[in-house]
Each structure stands twice: as structure tokens, then as C-alpha cells.
Symmetry: C2
Subunit: 299 residues, 2 copies
DNA sequence: TATTCCGATAGTGAC
DNA sequence: GTCACTATCGGAATGAG
């Protein structure tokens, strides 16, 4: 009963860690595979379609945690809930329903408890980085650049899937379709279809709970049965959510301060779309988000 | 189901207001009657044992509410919960199990929802005063003096009853009894018995809910099934409780400030006896108060 | 800063 | 992080001869 009810595939559970999976080293090949976010006919990815990431280039890591320590920490979190994401990193082929894309550097998955219509996680596979705090990990420019590149791909996938889910309701798309139907309108002058990518946000939580570094790729609607309490909501609509574009954070960025972030999570509930304040009345916010969702999807 | 389960007598209910009780004037005699707080053999007071209070001396009332307004307010609050105490004032004879003492100026009753082992209320009978806020009413020196005198009597009754309830457990009393038993000890040199009056506190709530002026006469233990939430507790152990001895309050006394008093009611729970902080964990405080009560009663 | 009922919210432990 | 359980908190009603 600990698995989500609204999705089809299995997710890693603490006791599922296999004894043979303890040495995430020695990659043999590099290959990238991408699947549609939801493809009714897509066959599960074959096991040999995945490979592992070589340890990062010997350029001096900025992290405070040397790889030996990271390995030790990796052992510590393995098998407990905080370490559940390692399974996607080391064994993406085991979760064909969850894994959208695998590269030597990253795994892109569907969040098992999505807090919005689209909610993906981008996981780096480098053991030298994947146990670092995001603020530390993204102080490494090369690593940050790599993650930004992959996050952009993920955001495009997310936007495409959002379009698929919302498309028929979109007013801007309807306008475009009508114009196209009339014919005779130069392509450049067609009304633009809806910019779904603009509805996708990419970033981290200032204080992640899951041990392995992950970047949230999430639609902004916060319309999900899995968004169940204030902390869920505020972790995405307040500065607790740190856009990937804002990295690296300057040394005195207020978002590094624990007190500031605890305050963000306890803030009163404010509609992300219209700014209405619901105080602590989460149920009322949820009802309101239903209405906002319908308006937003029809934009 | 709206009446307390832990006491025997009936209490006023809104619908019990009788049509003939609307003119609390024209006293015919002055008589004072006092009953033991609990006297197993005491017969209910006879109806004619009670009389009503003459309107106060024509000396200028300090109140902002002239008697005509007070009368109107009296009409307004009659019949709703905020006005329930008027029944004791006008018809003390109807509540023989609740009324302990009746004078021309006051009625002393047992609180129907006692927040401690002993919890009495002293009610003034003067319509010119009984709807005033305590801070206003006790700006009248003569009225304050009268109430202090009666409160002192009430506190003595409360102390006596507390002695009756706790006496057998008291270490100081045991010491005194032993010394007396030995004989030959001059009366002056006997160990003092426990000073129960010192365990009784007398004062008001800074923002009363019951409309008619009342002074709480309460033992300090806060050991009662009826003390059920933070507001109950903090209204007696923080500066929200204003000792009668502190009146009249100076104009800029912080205790007049609503914000200050709201803060007091929301304060974290702190044991009145040992200072231990229980945060918001009321159930734990209650458990702790059980232990403290046994230690306190054995002092 | 009345009591009572009741549902929403918040905090806790998870072997 | 989720889940299940419980405690705490917060609003509404309280009346109707
Ligand atoms: N077993 C899992 N598989 C996939 N996603 C998960 C799993 N457990 C938790 N999550 C998600 O991981 C994210 C961790 O959030 P955070 O650590 O606050 O950045 C949340 O959005 C969870 O819904
Ligand atoms: N019907 C009643 N009869 C006697 N005491 C009452 C009644 N209703 C409330 N009380 C008490 O009156 C007090 C009013 O407290 P407050 O207005 O806060 O000073 C509380 O201690 C209540 O327990
Ligand atoms: Zn809104
Ligand atoms: Zn204590």
C-alpha cells in the first residue's frame, strides 16, 4: 500500500536493493535512449539498452565529498527510503514504465508521486556528484552545464506531453488551427500555438529529502491528487524551489538559509495563478486549484 | 449533554430565564448567608433566605456605561450563553448546589466548569457595575474595596475547602499533628499547618467571555478534567490572569493590550509548578499535572 | 476571552 | 519522501415562548 495508486509501474522500494548492485563502476559503452513520456505502444526498454556513466573527468571536483566518501555515503543510504532513487540510476532498465530517457550522464524519470500534471526528475549518474547537495553540486560549472543541457531535453519532453494532455482545450491552439484551416496565411503570420515549454519549471528543492541529486521538471499547475499538504505545495511555489537557471548560487544567497526555507514551507497558502491567499485552508486551495486548472488548460 | 458531568447541581441555561426576572431592582432587605463549600448535611437554602442588592450609592459611577445602557445590555445578553451568570445574580436561590454565599452586594458560586480543584466565581450584583469590563469596574475605588472584601471571604472559604480536600495528604499538617500529639509544645512554637490560602489565587481574565463581571477564586493546581485545552490553561497561568490585588491597572498597563493577551493565550504550555515546557503537547502537560498534583497536595 | 461538536490541519513514529 | 495514526486546531452553532 506504499505505492502510488495513480500510476502503472513499480517503483524502487528499500528492500529491493540487490546485493549485486553495489559497485556502480566500470561502464562499457555509452548510449542514449529516449522514450515518449507515455507511449501506449512502446515496448519496455531492453536491459542492454542501458549503460553506466564513467566516473567524471579527473578535473578537480568542487565537491567537499571525495568519491571515496560518496561511496561510503552511498552504502549508508542504500536500502532506505532516502536512497530509493539510486535504483533508477544504477538499474534504469528495471523501471521501463518510469524511465523516460537514459544517457551516460543522466536518467530521466517520472516522479512516482507527481505534484502536478507533469512531474519528472532528472538524475545525474555520477557517483562523484549524486550525493552532493544541489547547491554544492551545481557549483561545478561543467556538471551544471551538462545538467542544464539534459534538463532542457527533459523540459522539451515535458512540454510535449503537456501539450498532448492539454492540447484539445487550448484557446491559442484553437486560434492557430482555425487560421491554418482558412489557408492563405503565411506560416510566419499564423498565430503562435501555445508555448507549453513556458509552463514547465525546472529546479531543485533547497532541502531535498531524497539523498540522490535530482532536478524537478514540473508543470506549474500543481494540479495533482498527490499534492496533499502545505509542504508539498509550498516546496514548489515559494523560493524553496530553486530554478536551475539560478545556479550557481552566490555565497550569501538567502535561499541557502535554513530558517528562511523553513519559513517558506510554513507560509500561508497562496494560489500560484491569481495570488489568492487561503491561509492554512488546504482543502479550499485544492478546490480553487481545480477551477484554476480548467482556466489554465484552456489558455 | 451540555451540562458538566462532574457536579451535582443544575446551572443556568439560556432558556431558563424567567419573564418575571427582568427588573433587578427594589430590594426589600439586606441579609447575608454563607454555606460551606460542600456540606454533606446542608439543606438547600430557602428561597426567602436571599435578597437583592440595592442599586449602588448615587456616587458618580466611573463606568462608561450608564445604568440605562447597562440595563439595555442586560436585556440583550439575557437568554444567551454570555449572559448565563445573571441567573445567579438575580435568582441565587434557584441554584442551592452552586451558590455558596449571598450578600446584598455579591453572589459567590462554584464555577460550573472548574479549571482546578477549587474554582469559585464572585459576582457583584450591582447592575451599574456588573456589565462593565473588569478594568473599568475596578477603577471605582469603593466598588473595588467592596469586591476585595468579599473576595477575601471567598478565598477563605476556598482555602478551607482545599484543606478539606487535600488535608490528609499534607506533610506540613502531619508535622504539626505529630508535634501536637507529643504535647508540651507551646502553641506558638507548633509547626505551622499548611497555608492553604496561599494556594488560592484571586483575579480576573483580561478578556472575559461571560458578560457579567466575575472574579475567579481558584486553587493554583489546574488539576481538573474540565481544563481541556491550551486556552483554558493559559488563561490562568499567564498574565491573562489579572490578580485582583493589581487593580486598578495603570493606563498603560500592557495587560490592557489585546495583542499581548492573544499572545498569552497562544503561548507554549509551561508547567506552573516546575516550569517545564510542553510546547503544544497538551495531553503531555495533563499527564504531568497529574504527577505535580500528587506532589503539590503532599507539600 | 463560555461549551460542544466536528472536520481540517499538524505532528509523530515507522524495527 | 510516504503512510497511518493521533493530537491539536479551528470554525459554527448555541435560541425559537
Ligand atoms: N521511489 C520513488 N520513485 C520516484 N520518485 C520518488 C520516489 N520517492 C520519492 N519520490 C519523489 O522524489 C521527490 C523528492 O523530493 P525532494 O527530495 O523534496 O526534492 C519527490 O517529488 C517525490 O515525489
Ligand atoms: N453557566 C455557568 N455557570 C457557572 N459558571 C459558568 C457558566 N458558564 C461558564 N462558566 C464559567 O465562567 C467562567 C467565565 O470565564 P471568563 O469569562 O473567561 O472569565 C469560566 O470559568 C466558566 O467555566
Ligand atoms: Zn487562483
Ligand atoms: Zn511541573
Amino acid at each position: 500500500m506504499t505505492e502510488p495508486v495513480d500510476d502503472e509501474g513499480k517503483i524502487p522500494r528499500p528492500e529491493s536493493a540487490s546485493p549485486g548492485s553495489r559497485h556502480p563502476t566500470a561502464p562499457e559503452a555509452e548510449k542514449t535512449t529516449t522514450q515518449a513520456v507515455t507511449s501506449p505502444t512502446s515496448a519496455p526498454a531492453k536491459r542492454n539498452a542501458f549503460t553506466e556513466l564513467m566516473a567524471p573527468k579527473p578535473k578537480a571536483p568542487i565537491s567537499q565529498a571525495p568519491q571515496s566518501m560518496a561511496s561510503k555515503a552511498s552504502q549508508i543510504v542504500r536500502g532506505v527510503w532516502r536512497g530509493a532513487l539510486i535504483e533508477y540510476i544504477e538499474h534504469p532498465e528495471r523501471f521501463p514504465d518510469k524511465v523516460l530517457r537514459v544517457t551516460p550522464n543522466t536518467v530521466l524519470i517520472k516522479d512516482a508521486f507527481p505534484k502536478a500534471t507533469i512531474h519528472l526528475l532528472l538524475l545525474p549518474r555520477s557517483p562523484a556528484h549524486y550525493l552532493l547537495h544541489p547547491h554544492s553540486a551545481f557549483a561545478d560549472p561543467a556538471f551544471l552545464a551538462m545538467m542544464r543541457e539534459e534538463a532542457a531535453v527533459g523540459a522539451q519532453l515535458a512540454a510535449a506531453e503537456l501539450a498532448r494532455k492539454l492540447g484539445p482545450s487550448s484557446a491559442s491552439n484553437r486560434a492557430r488551427d482555425e487560421a491554418m484551416g482558412k489557408g492563405g496565411v503565411p506560416f510566419d503570420e499564423l498565430p503562435a500555438g501555445r508555448d507549453y515549454a513556458a509552463e514547465i519549471r525546472v529546479g531543485t528543492h533547497a532541502h531535498p529529502s531524497m539523498a540522490h541529486l535530482h532536478v524537478h521538471i514540473i508543470s506549474r499547475d500543481m494540479h495533482s491528487e498527490r499534492a496533499r499538504h502545505k509542504k508539498h505545495y509550498n516546496s514548489f511555489v515559494t523560493p524553496f524551489f530553486v530554478p536551475l537557471a539560478d545556479y550557481p548560487l552566490v555565497e550569501d544567497d538567502v535561499r541557502r538559509e535554513t530558517g528562511f526555507q523553513n519559513g517558506n514551507l510554513k507560509k500561508e497558502l497562496v494560489c500560484w495563478r491569481c495570488g489568492q491567499n487561503f491561509g492554512a485552508r488546504f482543502a479550499e486551495l485544492k478546490k480553487h486549484l481545480e477551477v484554476e486548472f480548467e482556466a489554465w488548460r484552456a489558455e
